[in-house]
Symmetry: C2
DNA sequence: CAGCCTCTCTAACGATTGTTAGAAAGATTT
DNA sequence: AAATCTTTCTAACAATCGTTAGAGAGGCTG
């Protein structure tokens, strides 16, 4: 890991726990093991660290989204209802690569803290936590509807229910205190219960 | 409003938008219109302002909870299914006196920001946003079940669904950006749709 | 009027904040 | 070996931070 990457990593951990303003340049440098002037060789000022983190996160989720789009574009690899019910598809892209992913999870926490006084972060926060997941779910279930698993109206109803549940569980277990294995397991268990209970 | 109340009011507005550490004593005093030393006549230090806000909030929600308990204890004033469906009961105590209430709403935002590095606030945050509402919903629907509206198992299923929906909507509309009338209306509209759609 | 509260002020303190100029050290190229 | 480029250092800067001592102003009680 380069010094620049190390700075961003340490800064993200600190920003996502205490908030951007509460973390000082010296806090970051002390943890990284460099002098303050070295940080200013890699970043032009404190705000630049935050901006770089946000850009990195945007790139990261754009990568995830285009990966999902690719999957959607492959018609021969048909989704099976069982795949959804056993949460194979949604789990992989929503849990493993996103909500459980340390970088993404910390970035969401950071956005949660900073969204109240930063309109750009607020918009990204809303997109990332509400709009994008809803659209992803909708795509999956509409494809299932096309295969005759259920009607379009049923699909929409299920998506609304599913999205509400997943969002609530995310805030309850994954964006509450430290992201421990215990909380991840509790989350996965409730998602599993939801999958069985949902009216497919 | 006394000077002490004015300090707490201004501090809450600032803390809930920028976070506790990002707000300086001089920021608060400037907005209130007093000198720093005057603030220290009313509060022993900066932390004391935060602690006072938390204590005030605890008292406030305890008042709300005991009010709900009283209502639950009056058997002759039977809940009607229609009251729930038209969200008369839950709206009054969850929306008007709690989520829409300026003091409570700002306190929840403050807790959202500070919970990540303060275990006491984290516990209060979890209780206030997840545990308490779930129990309140459960009480209401179990009473309806007792009156034969539906079975106990049905009640639990409905509560899980209802709670997930309300929590998601709360984060989406009421704890996202500024609490505007537009967001309140969007929230109320979705709650209304939910009430019609829910399988009673 | 004198004494005593309650509240707010002026003025400063040491510590910490973000940031910068310029020297030194290492690595790479000529 | 000399020159150049990249990276890190020492040392300081003005501004702001939370906090405090002590003086004054206003009202109430003796």
């Amino acid at each position: 890991m380069t010094t620049k990457e190390k700075i961003m990593d340490v800064a993200l951990h600190m920003f996502s726990e205490r908030g951007y303003e509460a973390v000082s340049i010296r806090d970051i440098c002390g943890e990284v093991g460099i002098k303050e002037s070295t940080l200013y060789y890699h970043f032009k000022n404190k705000k630049d660290i935050l901006d770089s983190l946000i850009e990195k996160f945007k790139d990261h989720i754009n990568g995830l989204l285009s990966h999902i789009d690719e999957m959607d574009g492959v018609p021969h690899k048909k989704l099976k209802q069982r795949d959804v019910a056993s949460s194979k598809v949604l789990d992989t892209y929503m849990m493993d690569s996103y909500l459980f992913d340390p970088f993404c999870n910390l970035m969401i926490r950071l956005m949660m803290i900073e969204q109240f006084h930063n309109e750009e972060i607020r918009a990204l926060y809303e997109k990332t936590l509400f709009t994008d997941p809803y659209n992803i779910y909708m795509n999956v279930f509409k494809r299932l509807a096309l295969q005759g698993a259920f009607s379009d109206e049923q699909a929409e109803q299920i998506v609304r229910q599913y999205h509400a549940y997943m969002t609530m569980l995310t805030f309850k277990y994954l964006l509450n205190g430290e992201l421990t294995d215990k909380r991840k397991k509790a989350y996965a268990k409730e998602v599993h219960n939801l999958m069985r209970g949902i009216s497919l």
